[in-house]
Structures are given as C-alpha cells and as structure tokens.
Symmetry: D2
Subunit: 320 residues, 4 copies
C-alpha cells in the first residue's frame, strides 16, 4: 500500500511536469549498458546467478532435507497446455520399429517439434531476453546469434542447480486461494509474507512466489495466459537485490501482466535476466507446496544442456 501511495505521489508530481504519455514510462527505464556492465560476476561470465552453485550452497540445501518428501513442481508437457503466443509442443509417435532378432524387440519413440527452451515449466537462460540488441553482460545478439543457437550465454553453461528454496506465499498472506488478475505484488507484500512465515532470504536462494494463479493451468488456459498477478517492478528490483539464484512463480511471466505502466513490456524479465543475470523459473506447480505450508526446502532443477539455448523446459522438485 505504501508503495502505491508513493507511486501515486510520484505520478501526481509527474503529471505536473510531464506530458501524460510519458507518465508511466518514467517509472522504470532499462539501465544503459554502461550502468549495468560488466556484471558483478565478471565481464566474461555466462552463468550469472548460477555462480551461486557452490558446495556450501548444496550443503545448505541438503540440511533442509529432513523427511525425504519430494514435491514435483513441473507440469506435464501436453500438446494442449497453455502456451505463450507462437509457441507449441507438437508430438507424433513413431510407430513401432521391430528389430531383427529372435527376441522380437520393438522400439517406440516420439518426434517432438517445440520451443524446447520456452514451453511448460521452464527455466530461462540469458539469451532469452534483451534490452534492444543487448543481453546479459552486454553481449550483443548480432555478435553471438547463429541459426542454431547462440555462441555465448547458452543455457548449457548454467548446470544443474540445488539450493535452499523459499516459498513466499502471497496468496496465503492475503487469505485468498488466488490473487486477483493483474494484482501487482509489492515489496511490502513480500516482506510481510516472509515475516508471517518467519523466514528471511539469503543470497543464493531460490525464491518461489506463490500467487495461486497456477490453479488455472489445467482448468482455464486462456485466462491463465491473458493476464496474471505477479511481482511489481519494485518488488522485482527488491528481490534482485537479495541476490537469489533464481526467482520462480506459478505463472508464466513472474511479473504482473500486463504491467500497470502501459508503456512497459514485462520489465521483470529484463530486470532479472538482462540487468542482474538472475535466472527465472516459470509455470511452476505450487499447490502441494503451498497446501502443506512447505516454505523452506531444497530446490533442485536440471535444465537440459541445449547448446546455445535460451532456456529449458524442466521438471524441478522441492525436497524437505
């Protein structure tokens, strides 16, 4: 609420001096290359927040495994699941091939045509997003894009991640099963939810935000895709400052969509992937985790090592 007031104040001040069209555009602007590069992980770095993966990080996660319970956070890959515009998952069974031999061995496979880095529950790498022509660490698209992927920043550089996971249940904080359409989660919301859960964030955490929106995945795909509650720009920037290994949520964009500022297109994606080199984990299945109030756990995710890829569809787990 405080933020909204501040935003309103800022907006009112702005109205006094700016033309209406520039009103919201000023609320967030992508930093210049000079402001954001080199990244804190070094000018040659390709792994960003994945650099948090160190033995101590793994041990910290391991110590959270006390009951051996596993929670599957990945969605089933279906041809009719919700897709962002222009994406698909097409699959055809290759009919049984009977091999020669007295043991009558038959083989089945499937052929799949898909945006492999960007469908279903997905892990975003750094070549997925740009500010203009510039990606994480100010790598230029034109310098590294080939017809078959990218020669730098590909998702194969990240590796599997295992770290402390923290579920920030904003829907529970608000006492609702699902936040309202286009509800922008504020910094206060995050802080109050953490306080309610008696947890604090640590650098290298996997921060998972529950909005409840995921319950639409199987029941109302069109609504799931049309808009969604999610992190505000301010919340995204605050989270980035907490230095996490990744930010995840039970919706596609993680940021609120559309952005309250009509001039902005999904700024969270730039804040995380381009500016701060923080990976994203999208379309998570969080109902069981939230239902059982599992707020702290080992989060394990294994992105496929797609050479030069922009990301990877994944099947992550939480273990406690």
């Amino acid at each position: 609420m405080l933020i909204r007031t501040t935003l309103l104040t800022t907006a009112l001040t702005a109205i006094a001096v700016l033309s209406p069209s520039s009103l919201f555009a000023q609320s967030w602007q992508p930093p210049s290359d000079a402001q954001r590069c080199p990244s804190k992980w070094g000018a040659a770095d390709q792994r960003g927040s994945g650099n948090h993966m160190k033995p101590e990080t793994v041990l910290r996660a391991t110590r959270l495994i006390r009951t051996g319970e596993v929670f599957e956070l990945g969605r089933v890959l279906r041809t009719d699941m919700p897709f962002s515009s222009g994406r698909r998952f097409e699959m055809e069974t290759k009919r049984t091939n009977m091999n020669a031999g007295s043991n009558r061995r038959g083989s089945n496979e499937e052929i799949v045509f898909t945006e492999l880095g960007q469908v279903g529950t997905q892990f975003d790498g750094f070549t997925h997003q740009t500010i203009g022509d510039s990606m994480y660490n100010c790598v230029k698209v034109a310098d590294v894009a080939t017809r078959g992927g990218f020669t730098r920043l590909g998702v194969e550089h990240v590796g599997s991640l295992m770290t402390r996971g923290v579920l920030i249940d904003v829907a529970a904080l608000k006492g609702v099963p699902m936040l309202a359409d286009m509800y922008p989660i504020s910094v206060d919301d995050l802080q109050q939810a953490l306080q309610r859960q008696k947890l604090t964030l640590q650098p290298g955490d996997a921060v998972i935000v529950n909005t409840g929106w995921g319950r639409l995945w199987d029941t109302d795909g069109p609504r799931y895709l049309k808009t969604n509650p999610g992190l505000s720009t301010a919340a995204a920037e605050w989270l980035a400052k907490q230095d996490p290994m990744l930010i995840g949520s039970d919706n596609g964009p993680i940021g609120v969509t559309p952005d309250p500022d009509p001039n902005l297109s999904l700024p969270l994606h730039q804040i995380a992937l381009v500016v701060n080199g923080i990976h994203l984990l999208e379309n998570l299945k969080l109902d069981e985790l939230a239902g059982k109030q599992v707020y702290e756990f080992a989060l394990i995710v294994q992105p496929l090592k797609i050479q030069g890829g922009t990301g990877s569809t994944v099947a992550p787990i939480a273990v406690r």
Copy 2:
C-alpha cells in the same frame, strides 16, 4: 587379446557344462507374458522401479551428500552429437522478436525438432520397448498407442528420482581407460568391481556402470555408435535381481552391442524395461566421477513429464 582369450575360455567351459542349445540363441529368450505379468509392483502399475522413490530412499541418498560436490552426468545437446539410427536434434533460432514498449524488450527462442525421449543423455520409460506387441506389465502397444503418445506407461508417471547411486567402475577393475569393443561385462566383473570398491548394492540403488566408452562421445561419434562394451545378458539379469531403481552407463545401449548371440537384438533393453520394469539411463558422462573415484553418491535425475512419452532427454547429477 587377454579379454578375448578369457571370453573364449569362458565359452569353452560353458560348452562343457551346458547343453549346446543353451549356448547362444537359447541363452536368452524373452519370458512369456504369463511368466512376467503382473509385475511385482502390481498389474495396474505404470512406474516400475520408480516405485522405489520413498522418503527413506531420499534420506538415504541425502546422507551421502557430505561435501556438496556436484558432478554433471548429462551431455550437451548438440545437433551433431552421436545419434542412434534415425534420430536427430534439429534446432533453429527464432530471430529476435521486439515487443512494443518503451523498455525495448526483445525475445529469443529456439524451435527444436527431435526424438525428445530418446536423444543425448536419456532416461528410458517403459513405452520405449516391447517384446512383440507387449510392454511392461503386458500392456499391449495396440491398446495404448495414439499418434501423440501412449495412454498408459508414459514417462510422466515416473517423476523425479533421487536415490543412492553406485558407480561400478569395470574399466578401472580391468585397469584400462576403456573396455574393448564388444566386451561383454560378466556377473563376475560386476562382483569383483564392487568388492574392489568395497561396496554392496541395495534395493532401490541407481547402478551406474563405467565402461570408459563415453570418452568417444566427443571424439569419435561413429565408433561410439557402431559397437560398444556393455553388460552381458547374464549381468543384466543379475543386476535386475538386485532390484535397482535404474541402471545407467556411459554408452547408448548399456548392454554389450552387438550381442554375442547374433540372434539377439539388445536383450538388456527387454530385460530391464519390459520384463523387470527397471528404468535405464544412457549416454552418461562419467569421466569426472570415475576420475575422482566417486563410487557412492546421491543420484538425482528429473525426466521431463512428456505426456505419453517413451522417455526423456535429461541432465542428471551425482552429488556427494
């Protein structure tokens, strides 16, 4: 040569004590449906050895994590990696899509055309293999195959696996970097290697066999594919009796290829997947694990939840 001589001796010994008919073609025959069904996991089971995944299994694996070291066992997915006949991994970059908005956000994706369940480092599900028309638990292909996958036994039923992993380093036992082409690993080899490593197998383990063959993956794909050392039929059956969660290796077929019996086509695949319901993990990258003599560890693998899929390309890890 030594190896070949040993093989010959073994064969000659076998001839002395066995009826000739059991020497080759009769050395292994697929069991009848009646002999093998229902599976020990129940007639309706779709998960096979994946049923070993229980909290205690996870805790047992967790207790093996002491240093936090992570070993990546997955291969990079490249368009020019070694493929089994008729498979491919084709990838095309989708050129940057610039979104409307003052923040100049561009998006990149890739389109991939591939046998998603059966390329690269891969996890085999039960619809991948048959004995005639019959799969694990005697599910008939004709009853469950659709153009877009299988209505039963799909890989989405397995879930992520985390269990104790044991590397059986047969190459190290033999004192070679790589076993010879078509060397059939015997039960004795496995037992001696375990004894050398001072380890015993437990039900639910992920049993990983190092042949050294994996060093050809990046250097000589055609040779990697043409033949390979691997488990003999007897070794496969012995391993199956140890009741593992999965069997993996640093080659594609896991079994020796071609089979010494020219009438048999890859019987290990049937023994594991069809007869015993044991998952396979193929084309593993084991050099680091073997090099550092990491023989016991937590093995974690997250198959993509491809609905009705025959398996999944994966990026598993070993953690100690």
Copy 3:
C-alpha cells in the same frame, strides 16, 4: 427436398424389414478385397486413374486452351488456414545467413513443419486411405508402411497431370451462392448441372464440383471444417463409373460431411481412393472459375514427388 423424401421413403421401407441398427449401414458397404482387386489397371499398378495421362489426353486438354487465361485453383498456405483435425502448417523464418564474399550475399530460408501431403489445396494419393488394413489394389498397410513413408503406392508414382477439366457447378444449378450445410449432392444434381452446362463427361476428365463452400475458407474456417455439402455416396459411385482422372471440389472431404448415414465415415474417400483408384483434389479455390462460368478447361496439377507420400499440397491451375 425431393432427395430427402426419397431417402425417407427408402428409410421407411428399410425399417419394415431391417433392424434399426442396420438401417443405414446397409446403404453402403466397402467391397471385399476379392470384389475390388486387382484393379482395372492391373494387380501391380500404383498409379490408378493417373494412368489416364497419355499424349492424347494432354492434346485433348491443350485444344481447350484458346484464350490463354489462367485460373489459380490453389489456396495460399497459411499457418492459420483451416485444417482437418490434427494437422498444421508451422513455419519459421531462418534468419539471414550472410555468406563470405565481397558481394555481400545474404540467404533466407524457412523451416516448415507440416503434414505435407494433407494440408491446404491437396492432392490425395492412394496410401492416404484404407478399408481396414487394405489400400488401393489390396496393398496392405502393414506390408508397405515404414516410419518414413510407404514402399508402394507413394504419390511420387503419379506424376503431373494435365487433362480436360470440367466444372460441374451444382451451386449455380440450385441458384445459390453456396449449397446448404450437409447438402448431399445427388446423381440427378450432377446430371442436371451437366445438361445445363451442355457438357458430357469423358473418361480421363478432371471432374470438379462447385458447391460454393469454398467462400468460407477465408471468412469462417470453423464452419468450413465442421460440416459441408458434398457428393452423396450414390453420386460418388456414379462419378467413379465415369472413369475420371480425378475428382475435386471446393471443400475438404468432397463427399457430404457428415454422411447422412451416421454409421459411415467419409465413404467417398474409400470409393475413390481405395475401391476405384481415383485421385482426389481438395480445398480448391473455384470462385473465379464459377464466377466466369468457365466449365471446360485444361486442368494442370503437379503433385510434389514425396517419396512414399500419401498425397501432396498443390497449386493447380485451370487454363482456357
């Protein structure tokens, strides 16, 4: 209306002697293999009605070219055109590849993922349809199907076709721009339309039936696909007896859909492709031809030579 009354009378008569369940099923039954094989073109034939392509056929068509006017009968291949269930035309631009050289030559291509034999304006070959497991000339699917097409009866055997085309404008006969949904075109309709147009059919003709339904292609795809007016079973059989080179129309199934007999699934496809070996030409754009009353012309169609293919998307023309 007359037709419906006749049908009703027949039905009532049938009800008197048959059990209800067999009422319609008796209206058309696929002939047995013995009744229909070998085909009149010989037991080894793979080309069916394509055998009508002889020099004299071409000359007959050529003599119809008097003004040099060309009518394009093919639809534009769009990713959002109407598709039969489970088909698609996915296309991705491959971004410009700049070649080395002082002449700064750039190349663009596109990658397409589609049912190439069965999308858009399409030419049906004989492997597209079966009666049970049996195709044209009683070739069995199991004997000739591979994962990459069919070893017999593939569309590559047909070749380009150039023959006299006759447009039978049933919509014009009825004085409507478009026949009603599910209107079954009768033998009488065809004969009256031909009489009105003062034309008779000859063996080897390309017989094109205008229903007007094609006007929905660009304006109402869902309706275009849901049902359509088209040839009745009797009309299909009558046309087959006229011994044409192909039968075409401005809808997908050419036969009325659904069939008035709820037990029958698209019998025209079997009558033409399986029983009589007559090719089909679907989703034609006939508005210009009908609008200008071009009823006789040279029809030219060039199916792609897809090895083992079931058909081909095409861009045929009529020339007069």
Copy 4:
C-alpha cells in the same frame, strides 16, 4: 583439358586488355540500390519476371504442344537426397488412424520437417536472396521479415507459370555427357548452343541450361554438391538481358560453383533474383529432355503458395 586451355586463353586475353584489378574481385560488383531500383516492373512490384505471365505467353507455349509428350523435370523428394548446407527433408509416417464407422476407414498422413522453399527441385522467390540487407526492388529484409515469413515479396505472389521453354544444351555442344567440375559457361557457349539448336530466345522464355551435372544427383550426392559447372557471371548477365521468365538448370546454384573469382559468393543468385527480379529453377532433372533433344516446349511450374515464402519445392514439367 581443352576447356581449361580455352579458359586460360580467355583469361590471358583478358589480362591483356583489362587492368589486373578488374580481373577478379572487380569483375562483378553488386549494383547499388540507386542503380537497380525501382525495378522495370515498378517500385511496388512483387512478381518480377513472373509478370511475363500473360494470355499471349500461355498461348505461345500452348502452340508448342504437338505430341502431348510430358517430361517430368522434378526430382523425387527423399530424406537422403543432396541438400545444400543446413537443409533437410525429414519425414515421419503418422500411423494409421482408424475412424469410427462401419466402413472401417483408416487414414494415413506424414509429418514433414523441411526448408520447404529450398529443397529438391526448387523454385526461388525473391526473399531468398539479398545484397546486404536489400532484396529485389530494394525491399529491406528488416522491414518485411517476420518469424513466419516475409510480408512482401513472398512466393505466393508469383503464381503458376506456363511459358515457352528452351533447353540450351551446353553439354551437347561440347560433346560431353557432363561438363567438367567448375566449368564456367560463357556467353559464347550459350550463343553457339542456341545456334546449333537453331533457336533464338524470346522475352518471357523459361531458359533451361543443361550441364549434365544432374546425372550425379542419384549417384554421387557429395560430388553433386561440392562444386558444379554452371553459368559464368557474364553469361548470367547476358541471359538476364534476354528478359526471361526464369532461368533453370540441372544443378543447385545454376551459376558455376565456386565462382572463379574467390571473392564472389554465387553472384548469379544476386544477378537474377535481386538485381533483375528473375526467378530461378534449380536441381532440374533434364536427362530425358536432353536425351531426346527436346529443345523447345511448354514449361509449366506451380510453386506452392507459401505465404511469405522464399521459394517452393516443385515438380515442373515440359510438354511438347
């Protein structure tokens, strides 16, 4: 040898009269946008040489049809045919779908993954090639390229072509079944061959050049692709001045490959498609036409109407 000697003589003669700098790299330079735009067909034109398609053109072709003989000029589309770098034709049979109904109708289709505009016997449209960022009529790639094709100059604007075809048999002129690797066909060669055949070119012709190279298509794909005899830059420019509807040949690039000038990458493609707006027809099967000395005929080609496409695989015919 004779050929090479002639080439050397020509080169030496050239050296005598030309400054060395103009010998190679300066032997051809792409014209500037100002020099070549707008095209002679108008600044808004998207059809280039396809504009020759007029009733009189069709009638002229029709008058050449005297015997009704048809020659198939298209190659069979095979997964293992010769491909330019990075292209492929992948095909998977979709297993028989049995429809409900008493008539036991089964359907087969195939899924294809391919560069549909640029494989097999192919027709090149104008978006296939650039000089820098500029295409035919100085349309800029950046202005019209989308992820799913081009918004201008797509091959769907061309339409089917039917015109007088002239085979210029350079191999026959030289008395060889196949011209030598990298033999550059000169203007003299073309003129002498035409004189030998007692034919002259007319505006709007389809000019087809026989090199004999096509006999390698089925027998030695790697050699077929590695180099090829073909039109020299001078011959390409001379042919362009004859104002044809298209230029075709029995190799992929039509121009000699590699170009004698090592600084040039396939200049013929720019001369034809970008500078002059003349379509190309590649990988033709010309053996029958050449064998029977069919030098004048009706050429008919029906490019698929791929929306925004760079070209189309085709199955053209010659009819006489």
